[in-house]
């Protein structure tokens, strides 16, 4: 988009960059540290929250193994308690858990007897593929519709903003069911059970992307409208740029900023929403595992998933930060100024 007018590295700016890097190093370290802190806090909160769930963990495990819903005698519970360390004080259990985290050990699933890292590992990729594709598709949808309709006369922009308002109000699972019936059953263009292949990923991705696109579109449209009123847009027009040119080369870049900020949050929401798409389209993923784990009080698995999702969220937000700086270098300057 922008032409580098002079590609020779200026000695001066090179030195400046070095200084900048030196100044940013501790800031970066702080960021990483605080990210780690957030992750451990999230996993710990989950760990303790699960202890609040009424009922005894050993009872649950026994009932699960036998498919019953009854009370058990102390003698029957004792071996289970010992095996999973429930007989230790809660604090000791927690220290043990957090200690394990630092060694990359998320514990062992109470129900699947596999390391949690493995339980999650199998399911993480399909979930990430689904959520990231949904985010990308949502962006494409939102941008296309906004670019085509914003400030194009009352009727066309009305159409565009109505589309956004409607899609933003759609319950995602309802979209999923309707898409399934329309495009997999009535007109069997896509498979009902998608699996993880490309063709089968289309409908689950759309299920998540359509409502999100509406939301991103609304935010982008608002900003777009504001930006098109800005003097620099007029300046560009006075240079002989076409309306479309102004939209693409100037306004677009400004108007995506708020939506970029929201993308980090959106990714978190998408992971929550993913379970719905996974359920409807029989797609593997972390959401399904999470729901099962909570229901079976599989504490290490639940905490592990929270940890992973939180990590994804943290990374996503770092990326969003980065993307924002790429699009809007002003942030770097003003942020540096805050004390």
């Amino acid at each position: 988009m922008s032409i580098a007018l002079d590609t020779r590295p200026s000695v001066r700016s090179g030195a400046r960059a070095a200084q900048e890097a030196a100044r940013k190093a501790p800031a970066l370290l702080g960021k990483v540290l605080s990210a780690v802190l957030v992750l451990i806090a999230a996993a710990s909160v989950t760990f303790f929250a699960q202890l609040l769930i009424p009922g005894d963990r050993a009872t649950t495990i026994l009932n699960l193994q036998t498919g019953r819903s009854q009370k058990w005698s102390a003698a029957e519970l004792a071996p289970v308690n010992e095996k999973f360390g429930f007989d230790h004080p809660v604090l000791v259990q927690w220290l043990h858990y957090v200690g394990g985290l630092f060694q990359g050990d998320l514990g062992t699933s109470f129900t699947q007897y596999r390391p949690v890292t493995q339980v999650i590992g199998d399911q993480l990729l399909p979930s990430l593929v689904l959520t990231l594709s949904a985010l990308v598709v949502a962006w494409l949808l939102a941008l296309t519709i906004t670019l085509l309709t914003v400030k194009r006369g009352r009727f066309v922009s009305g159409l565009g903003s109505s589309w956004e308002a409607v899609t933003a109000s759609l319950p995602p699972y309802w979209v999923g069911v309707v898409l399934l019936v329309l495009f997999a059953v009535k007109w069997p263009i896509f498979p009902v059970i998608g699996g993880t292949d490309l063709w089968g990923t289309v409908l689950p991705v759309l299920t998540l992307a359509i409502p999100l696109a509406g939301f991103l579109g609304q935010v982008t449209r608002d900003e777009f409208e504001k930006v098109l009123d800005q003097p620099f847009v007029t300046t560009a027009r006075t240079r002989g740029m076409s309306d479309t040119g102004v939209r693409l080369r100037h306004a677009l870049r400004h108007s995506v900023l708020p939506a970029i900020t929201l993308s980090g949050w959106a990714l978190g929401a998408l992971i929550s929403g993913a379970v719905i798409a996974e359920n409807i389209y029989g797609r593997p993923g972390i959401g399904q595992v999470l729901v099962t784990a909570v229901n079976t009080r599989d504490v290490p698995t639940v905490s592990g998933i929270v940890l992973v999702v939180a990590a994804v969220y943290v990374v996503a937000n770092l990326l969003v930060d980065l993307a924002f700086r790429l699009v809007d270098p002003r942030l770097a300057v003003s942020k540096g100024g805050q004390r």
Partner: protein, 283 residues
């Protein structure tokens, strides 16, 4: 959200002739409120009246939305479900706002380490999938309207809290807060008279948006079997129950879904109109 930083006096007057969409949205909301308060006015049937001879009937004049698997009139169920759905929407948003205002103001006013701690804590909560929050809560308390309200409310609180904090900080730096200080007013007076009302006001529009989103969220929980359960005709529960009939009795899934969309749309568009008014008034 630029709307939140504008120290504007809103001219909250709706020019009805100018915006037919707004009129429509108001009508929908009025209908909704009526349904929530006096459902008997809108239908003469009972939402739980069973009619096994007449189950899964297509929409018709006598049953505008058709009937469900137990022969209950779907239209009546939708009308009676409005109270719980609206209650969830309002309750969750109110809870979220209360939490957000408490945290946002504490952080925004105290600054320093208090601000850092609260901001960090919010970040932790933000990192939680909302679904997990709901799952944990429902595991602890069992599914009910109250739990859904708490789950959705707490889930959306951190977002609002961030807004409130930003808002407080921006109002704190506004000219009129300084002007009040220059007049010799006490800090508490300035907070009470200027900071609080001006920081809260732009949130009204955001709240309206939140109500629609909360209803949608709650119905998502119902889909996961975690929402309000039948025979309650909360809309999410209707959708959940209707899902298995999507290929055979489409109206059970499609019509409640459309109602949710319509209501969310109406509430959201009112919120956005309000937001634009607040913004427009500032220009």
């Amino acid at each position: 959200m630029s709307a939140l930083t504008l120290p504007a006096r809103p001219a909250i007057r709706f020019d009805l002739r100018a915006r037919p969409g707004t009129v429509l949205a108001l009508l929908v909301v009025a209908f909704l409120v009526l349904a929530a308060l006096v459902p008997g006015l809108l239908t003469h049937r009972s939402p739980t009246a069973i009619d096994l001879q007449n189950n899964l009937a297509h929409p018709s004049w006598s049953h505008p939305f058709g009937t469900d698997d137990a022969g209950r009139d779907l239209y009546t169920r939708v009308v009676y479900g409005a109270r719980e759905s609206l209650g969830i929407g309002l309750g969750a948003t109110a809870l979220a706002m209360a939490v957000a205002i408490l945290l946002g103001f504490t952080a925004g006013l105290a600054g320093g380490w208090v601000d850092v701690v609260i901001t960090r804590a919010l970040e932790v909560v933000f990192a939680f999938p909302v679904l997990l929050l709901a799952l944990l809560l429902i595991s602890i308390r069992g599914p009910s309207v109250g739990t859904v309200i708490v789950a959705v409310g707490l889930g959306s609180a951190p977002g609002y809290a961030r807004m409130v904090r930003g808002q407080v900080r921006s109002v704190r730096q506004s000219g009129y807060v300084e002007a009040a200080g220059a007049l010799g007013h006490r800090r508490t007076t300035v907070i009470r008279r200027h900071l609080f009302p001006n920081a809260i006001r732009p949130l009204v529009a955001v709240m309206t948006l939140g109500v629609g989103q909360s209803i949608v969220w709650a119905s998502g929980l119902a889909f996961l079997g975690l929402g309000v359960s039948p025979p309650s005709s909360e809309w999410g529960a209707l959708l959940d129950a209707g899902r298995q009939y999507i290929t055979t009795s489409w109206w059970l899934e499609i019509l409640p879904g459309l109602v949710i969309v319509l209501v969310a749309l109406a509430v959201t568009s009112l919120g956005r109109t309000l937001q634009h008014r607040l913004e427009g008034a500032a220009r």
